[in-house]
């Protein structure tokens, strides 16, 4: 082990030192004002209520600019592409090519999306990052019963004032070199980052699943991929990309397919730019050599929350959906557009459903039928330990005999799926890393409804997930509301759903009947692919988790 650690250190010096010298290649982006979201009309650190479609006028440069009712805001996130280690349900450590968080570290460790508003993203870490953070800092308490040290920072790792930014005050010289970076003038922040912090946090920082992304319709998302290199496979010089799977009318440039676009070399950052697509459950993954990089773990979840959530409580959801017809980008006229999925609900009216005081909606349904109290992303995946072993040990890989032996929900097998909080694994740098931050225990308040955002990125076979107890109501499929062109909901009840790799669907577990589903009861989500209820050689575990009625 020591030898390996020395080798890793050697590689770190050899391979990454030149990158440090070219620090400009790492950058982040998170503007506070854009054409679509001018800060003069709305502060982009919060979501405005949806009351009407945005109104536009053609500006002097020849394009439309908003004049009123700006909807959505700006969101930013940074992720690192590299490698890491995670721990399977039988205790085996497994090597991954993987993404790790480089922003929203505290949120990710708490099982939340790492997508931040500009004021959170653009904040500077007050201390010095330690390798393995946030786990290293959290675990640094001393004494016989150490108390975890709170780690609350959610900004962009590495962000510092740009020493080369133009001096603002000609008398004092360059004001961007300041003792308290958080008090530096806004003009000092150009996206410049300190690569040391990126490398300290980003190397061996891989997560499974990859960092969770959540945005709201009408948001602009600045999604920065920083390629820190795979320190245990320095021979590969591997690029990475982000493929936003399911993005409608995608541009090739931001689609992340290396054959058809650009791929990001080691030592570089690239900011993917998206206007949030229609609400729904999507996912994202690296698109380099997909049979390899997906099997190795570069898969994550992404969902888009509907405009309807932002309708003021008590206001008519139907009226809000009618209002959406006022903007060609947000309308759905089934007679004109064969690819739109949420026409006005059939037979509904303004009085049909008011915006509930609590909870949220999965889609712009206009009738309140996708309401939920709690939501849980559930990503199905599989690991073939033989493939991961040859992936770690410089051996050639075979694809046709790939056979998964670990079956994962959010990167964990049962019973780890119900362990709260992040799971840490000691990586080859000797540090603990929060490699599996996301439990998949479903906690439903008594009488409530849970939305399960289920996606599958297994690369070898179809997977079935069944519910033992509460029926599944499927309300969405592939990030689209299940509704016919006339507006009739096509929801259906089932006890199981089957997904191929690259598919997603939305399920509501309706526990509103407290007689059937009383507080304290426990139900299960498990796979009826019975050989998948195992953790490699252990005839126990696998693709299973628990549903608790609280």
């Amino acid at each position: 082990m020591k030898k390996l650690y020395q080798a890793v250190l050697f590689l770190l010096l050899c391979c990454l030192a030149p990158l440090v010298a070219n620090a400009q290649s790492f950058r982040v982006q998170c503007p506070t004002s854009t054409i679509t979201h001018p800060s003069s009309l709305h502060d982009n650190n919060s979501e405005p209520a949806y009351t009407a479609p945005t109104t536009f006028t053609t500006g002097s440069a020849g394009y439309l600019t908003p004049t009123a009712n700006v909807n959505g805001a700006i969101k930013c996130q940074q992720i690192g592409g590299g490698d890491g280690l995670s721990t399977m349900g039988d205790g085996t450590q497994i090597y991954m090519f993987s993404f790790g968080p480089l922003s929203g570290l505290a949120d990710i460790a708490n099982g939340l999306p790492g997508t931040e508003s500009p004021n959170a993203f653009n904040s500077v870490y007050p201390g010095t990052f330690l390798p393995g953070d946030p786990a290293t800092t959290v675990n640094a308490g001393s004494g016989p019963n150490p108390v975890p040290i709170a780690f609350t920072y959610n900004g962009a790792v590495g962000l510092v004032p740009d020493p080369n930014a133009l001096p603002i005050d000609p008398v004092t010289g360059n004001p961007c070199v300041v003792s308290n970076p958080n008090s530096a003038p806004a003009g000092c922040f150009t996206g410049h980052v300190d690569p040391r912090a990126i490398i300290d946090v980003g190397v061996m920082n891989g997560n499974i699943p990859a960092p969770l992304v959540a945005i709201d319709e009408d948001d602009e998302l600045f999604y920065t991929l920083t390629n820190v290199g795979m320190i245990m496979r320095p021979d590969l010089f591997e690029q990475h990309t982000v493929h936003f799977h399911g993005y409608p009318n995608a541009s090739t440039f931001y689609d992340g397919v290396p054959d058809a676009s650009v791929a990001i070399n080691i030592g570089g950052s690239f900011t993917y730019y998206y206007l949030a697509p229609d609400a729904g459950t999507y996912f994202w993954h690296c698109h380099i050599t997909p049979p390899e990089h997906l099997q190795m773990g570069m898969v994550g979840q992404l969902y888009v929350r509907p405009r309807q959530n932002r309708v003021p409580a008590g206001a008519s959801l139907y009226d809000a959906l009618v209002a959406q017809q006022g903007d060609n980008r947000t309308k759905c006229d089934s007679t004109q557009d064969i690819l739109c999925s949420n026409p006005l609900p059939f037979g509904a009216s303004a009085a049909s459903a008011p915006r509930a005081a609590t909870g949220n909606y999965a889609y712009n349904d206009g009738d309140g039928s996708t309401h939920y109290d709690v939501e849980y992303p559930l990503q199905i995946h599989g690991f073939d330990p033989n493939f991961h072993f040859v992936g770690m040990t410089f051996n050639p890989e075979e694809f046709s005999d790939m056979k998964d032996k670990y079956f994962l929900l959010n990167g964990r097998s049962y019973p780890d799926t119900v362990t709260p909080g992040p799971l840490a694994t000691q990586a080859t740098d000797g540090k603990m890393h929060f490699a599996q931050p996301l439990p998949s225990i479903i906690n439903i308040p008594a009488g409530g409804r849970a939305l399960l955002r289920i996606s599958d990125l297994d690369v070898t076979e179809y997977q079935t997930l069944a519910s033992l107890g509460i029926p599944m109501t499927v309300i969405g499929f592939n990030a689209k509301l299940l509704r016919d062109q006339a507006g009739n909901n096509l929801y259906f009840n089932t006890n199981s759903v089957t997904l191929g790799g690259g598919e997603s669907l939305d399920v509501i577990l309706d526990a509103s009947d407290t007689t059937k589903y009383p507080s304290g009861s426990v139900f299960y989500l498990y796979t009826p692919n019975l050989d998948h209820l195992s953790n490699d050689a252990e005839n126990f575990g696998g693709l299973m988790t628990e549903v608790h009625i609280n």
Binding site: A260, N265, F270, T335, D484, N488
Partner: protein, 554 residues
């Protein structure tokens, strides 16, 4: 002996080499849904070797045209050099019209040891005559014939395949597609925006390669372009064993050490470990070579879809193997119209342009499952709507006329009034809206995103050379005006642009510069060819700016 992925660098080099070879061998041509027209078909089943991109020649069985019968009529009619030899995988695509009385005569030309063979036409009420009785239908004995007759009772895409020892014969390649075109075309499919699309095609001297203007007798099944994809997989062990036994049976002479010779095949079809994953009988990159390419005499059909913004593209997809494959269409969702020729309709009626009809109720999917024996028809389009930046890189301050085109939104926000314009079907809400913070080349700045130093990026073979769509925008963005004049913002005409367009050999910045999207199986290990990545069930779909002529004549 197995070829394996050593590392990505080697894979990419190999990919580029394959591409260079492919491009040297063939001109750029595209896909369509080619086949032969009926209603009378004279087919045969024979053995031949099909070609795989790892160099393997795989012993297979397939349906083909009986060469002793009259030459079939090919469709679409503009196909340049079609052929239908005695064996092909998939079998000939049979194109008929609704209400046709279809007659398929099958001659069994397989090696005698393979025994009987037959064809099933699920979804039709088939009358089989001649031949010998089989389990599922009448069969043709070796050297014998059987005739199937049925009425093409409803439109749509369906599979046909062997009904004899299917675990072996379908695996060996005995499958194909039958397309039934609707008896009547809804009026709105030949007017309005569909007529405008035809006007645009005519303006750019592009031909119409559709089999029909509509997939069904329904006003929301109009389409402007169409492709057929048949998914299957092959386990080479089965094919090797079949050939060995056929050869042994044909040559075996009883000896003292081997008293009796086998007379029938005993090929194990389990355990099943496919190594080839095929679209229309070919693996990537072969699937992107033209239809009827001379180097694939037994695999005439390709998978190389192209389309222009706004065109409704009908995809006809069939699962022909024994596995399901999640087929992921990058770029947009697909509206499922029908499965096995059965339109999926709502109980409610809505008013489409020109006609009221039951509303469509098929799902919208970004990953469409292919299922053994099952076909689906779906509609896809790409428009650029919602990007929040102008993919054409329009710039009112430019000196290039094409950079200053206008965009007049129709009722749905698209520029559809000018079919002859490069930006026909542009999404007008983003017209002139910049993407990049800094101006680049002739494309104006002021947008939200900063692009990095191009040296940290690696370009793919299908990268168009800039973030923008079409040669006009790409040339303007990458430093050189289409006229050859030097630009104001980037006085580096002849140099590279926002990212250097080097290596973009499959989608050149100066001629095509389309938006390339990968259409592939998302059980990702199936985008390999006998353990080599890339390969298998993978093709690139190109959205081409209107001025690029899509030629589907082969």
């Amino acid at each position: 002996m197995k070829a394996m992925k050593m590392n990505t660098t080697i894979s990419k080099t190999r990919l580029l080499l394959l591409l260079v070879l492919a491009l040297l061998l063939t001109a750029t041509t595209h896909a369509a849904a080619p086949g032969i027209t009926g209603p009378i078909f004279n087919l045969t089943a024979q053995a031949a070797f099909i070609s795989q991109p790892d160099g393997a020649a795989v012993y297979s069985w397939g349906y083909g045209c009986d060469l002793s019968a009259p030459q079939p009529v090919f469709a679409p009619q503009l196909t340049a050099t079609p052929f239908c030899y005695a064996m092909q995988v998939p079998g000939p695509t049979l194109i008929v019209h609704e209400n046709d009385v279809v007659t398929v005569k099958l001659l069994n030309g397989l090696p005698a040891a393979a025994g009987n063979t037959s064809i099933l036409f699920p979804g039709f009420n088939v009358n089989a005559t001649g031949g010998v009785a089989g389990l599922l239908t009448q069969e043709a004995a070796p050297g014998g014939t059987v005739t199937y007759t049925f009425t093409a009772s409803s439109p749509g895409t369906r599979a046909y395949y062997s009904g004899t020892q299917g675990d072996l014969q379908v695996e060996m390649g005995l499958y194909g597609a039958i397309i039934v075109l609707p008896a009547s075309v809804p009026a709105n499919c030949t007017s309005g925006l569909h007529a405008a699309n035809l006007a645009a095609e005519a303006h750019w001297s592009e031909s119409d390669f559709r089999l029909a203007p509509a997939a069904y007798d329904h006003p929301d099944t109009c389409y402007d372009r169409e492709y057929l994809f048949q998914f299957s997989e092959m386990d080479p062990k089965i094919h090797t064993a079949a050939l060995a036994q056929i050869t042994d049976i044909a040559t075996c002479v009883p000896t003292q050490s081997r008293l009796t010779c086998p007379t029938t095949l005993e090929v194990p079809t389990e355990p099943y470990q496919p190594a080839y994953f095929l679209i229309n009988g070919r693996s990537m990159p072969d699937d992107m070579d033209p239809n009827y390419a001379a180097q694939y005499p037994h695999q005439p059909y390709n998978g190389n879809p192209h389309m222009h913004p706004g065109e409704l593209t009908l995809i006809r997809v069939i699962g022909q193997g024994r596995w399901q494959h999640p087929f992921h269409e990058h770029g947009n969702h697909v509206r499922i119209l029908a499965r096995d020729g059965n339109l999926i309709l709502s109980g409610s009626t809505i008013t489409y342009p020109g006609a009221a009809a039951q509303a469509l109720a098929g799902r919208l999917e970004f990953t469409t499952d292919t299922t053994p024996g099952q076909a689906f028809d779906g509609i896809f389009y790409w428009s650029g709507k919602g990007l929040n930046w102008d993919p054409y890189g329009h710039h009112p301050g430019s000196s290039d006329a094409s950079a200053k085109l206008s965009c007049t939104p129709d009722a749905n926000g698209y520029n559809t009034a000018a079919p002859t314009a490069i930006n026909f079907w542009e999404w007008c809400q983003d017209h002139n809206k910049p993407m990049q913070v800094a101006p680049f080349g002739d494309v104006a700045g002021g947008g939200p995103a900063t692009l990095p130093d191009a040296n940290i990026l690696t370009n793919g073979a299908w990268y168009g050379g800039s973030p923008y769509l079409g040669p006009n925008a790409t040339l303007r963005a990458t430093g050189c005006m289409p006229s050859g004049a030097t630009q104001t913002n980037a006085p580096n005409c002849g140099a590279t642009g926002s990212t250097p367009p080097s290596g973009t050999i499959a989608n050149p910045p100066s001629s095509e510069a389309g938006f390339a999207f990968m259409w592939h199986s998302h059980n990702e290990r199936e985008i390999t060819t006998n353990n080599i990545f890339p390969g298998g069930m993978l093709m690139m779909m190109l959205v081409d700016s209107r001025e690029f002529v899509i030629d589907e004549s082969n």
